[in-house]
């Protein structure tokens, strides 16, 4: 008798668990974005501030349109597809996991609402005076005087970002790992700008200046 009661209990539990899983409506919007963000945490960190060891940038608080654009580029092999792009190879497959309609928009909405943090400089080298000349001569047009970017020009905020990441990206534009494709119009524009920086020193200088912008 007792055995039968147990069997009945287990059956009831299994059936109700099954029914519960059927009726649970999938989350949508930002709540869904929060769920998706769990997959970003191992690399971009709990708070989305990036991790130097893993070479991941801070993404918390980036504008949603920029996140959507970049994730779409990773997914479409416009970024991170060069055989030598180690960091890109790690991010690109993650972009591929966002394949349901709305996934990218939802995670972007959530990440863009996360509090951003100004990442302190790590480079000690870099001539801010020389960098200021470059920045205020060239970069200012799109990234604006405060380095906060401009949505209309599709240029992201860079003032808050980690300096090592920014220099790395300038290198990637320069080498044609980013912005190489005619399909990637805005990436191509930035690539042209990166090509105006003669060498590594020029890159460090301008980024050293970016890190002096008020936050």
């Amino acid at each position: 008798m007792l055995q039968r009661a147990y069997a009945g209990l287990i059956a009831a539990a299994v059936i109700s668990a099954f029914l519960a899983s059927c009726s649970a409506t999938p989350k949508t919007g930002i709540a869904h974005g929060e769920e998706l963000f769990q997959n970003c945490k191992p690399c971009h960190g709990e708070a989305g501030h990036g991790n130097l060891e893993l070479r991941t940038p801070a993404i918390a608080g980036l504008p949603d349109w920029y996140i959507i654009e970049q994730v779409t580029k990773f997914k479409g092999d416009l970024r991170g597809a060069n055989p030598d792009d180690m960091e890109g190879h790690r991010m690109r497959p993650l972009a591929r996991t966002l394949y349901h309609p709305g996934d990218i928009e939802n995670v972007a909405a959530y990440v863009s609402k996360m509090p951003s943090q100004w990442m302190p400089p790590t480079f000690t080298k870099g001539d801010t005076a020389a960098g200021s000349v470059t920045f205020n001569g060239v970069c200012i047009t799109c990234h604006m005087a405060d380095g906060k970017g401009n949505k209309d020009l599709h240029s992201p905020p860079i003032a808050q970002q980690s300096d090592w990441y920014l220099v790395a990206q300038l290198n990637k534009f320069h080498r044609g790992w980013r912005g190489y494709s005619p399909e990637d119009v805005y990436g191509g524009q930035m690539r042209a700008m990166a090509l105006t920086l003669a060498d590594s020193t020029a890159m460090h200088n301008v980024i050293a200046y970016v890190k002096t912008l008020p936050h």
């Binding site: 092999d77 180690m86 960091e87 190879h89 790395a168 590594s200």
Partner: protein, 244 residues
């Protein structure tokens, strides 16, 4: 029947399938025979009123034969399986037919990078054609591959070729294949290698000589334009802040 679900696109795919079949038949037949016996005995000697349970030691010859005969048959079948398996192992893993082409396959978290030696046939020269997550090979040509991993254990898996080779970092694995069917097939990673293991897929395109030549030429042009960026500063993406 297997090829109905998964095309056989390499010269040795048939041998692997045959081996899988031999194993499936031998094991399958035994499984059915044993289960039928098992349930029949349970039914035949079920509890009946007035029939006491008998204690059997199993020492008598006619009882021991229930063990001995199947045991001996299984031993013979085992030998058969081992012979069949070794035959395929020698054919695929121990013999390297002379190569028409050699390609390099690099696995890393989470991408496959393929290096085709280009017109000069030598790897690590400027005319190499390097691609990410896309491998192009010519049909009916024997390929040697040199497989390496940059970081953790991966496994190079081409189901249509019936090819699977683990890649541990620090070692170069050599192997071969000969595509026999044109088309596009899947490549995937068959060894858990981190968060994006499940999407570490690549595309394999087996094409005719003309198609392959055209692809190679298109890519050689790409390589030339990409080189425009090769003048970039050398301290790269991995710039260590500490050393700055």
């Amino acid at each position: 029947m297997l090829e109905h679900y998964l095309p056989r696109a390499s010269s040795f795919a048939g041998d692997i399938d045959q081996l899988v079949w031999i194993i499936a038949w031998i094991v399958g037949v035994w499984f059915v025979v044993v289960e039928v016996m098992f349930f029949w005995l349970m039914f035949r000697f079920r509890k009946k009123p007035g029939v006491p349970a008998r204690y059997i030691t199993g020492k008598e010859k006619h009882l021991k034969n229930w063990i001995n005969i199947p045991h001996n048959i299984i031993l013979v079948l085992d030998v058969l399986l081992i012979v069949a398996a070794i035959r395929v192992w020698v054919l695929i893993k121990q013999t390297m037919p002379p190569a028409d082409h050699t390609v390099k396959v690099m696995a890393q978290q989470w991408a496959w990078t393929f290096t085709d030696p280009g017109p000069d046939g030598k790897i690590d020269t400027p005319d190499d054609v390097r691609t990410t997550d896309e491998m192009h090979v010519e049909v009916n040509k024997t390929y040697h591959f040199v497989l390496e991993s940059m970081d953790v254990a991966h496994s190079f898996f081409i189901p249509a070729f019936r090819l699977k080779q683990d890649a541990d970092p620090g070692r170069a694995y050599t192997g071969w294949f000969k595509p026999t069917k044109t088309g596009t097939f899947d490549i995937s990673c068959a060894e858990i290698c981190g968060i994006a293991h499940g999407v570490m897929g690549a595309k394999l395109v087996v094409e005719t000589t003309q198609e392959h030549t055209a692809w190679m030429q298109a890519h050689a042009a790409d390589a030339a334009t990409a080189d425009a960026g090769a003048s970039a500063p050398t301290d790269s993406t991995t710039a260590q802040p500490a050393s700055q």
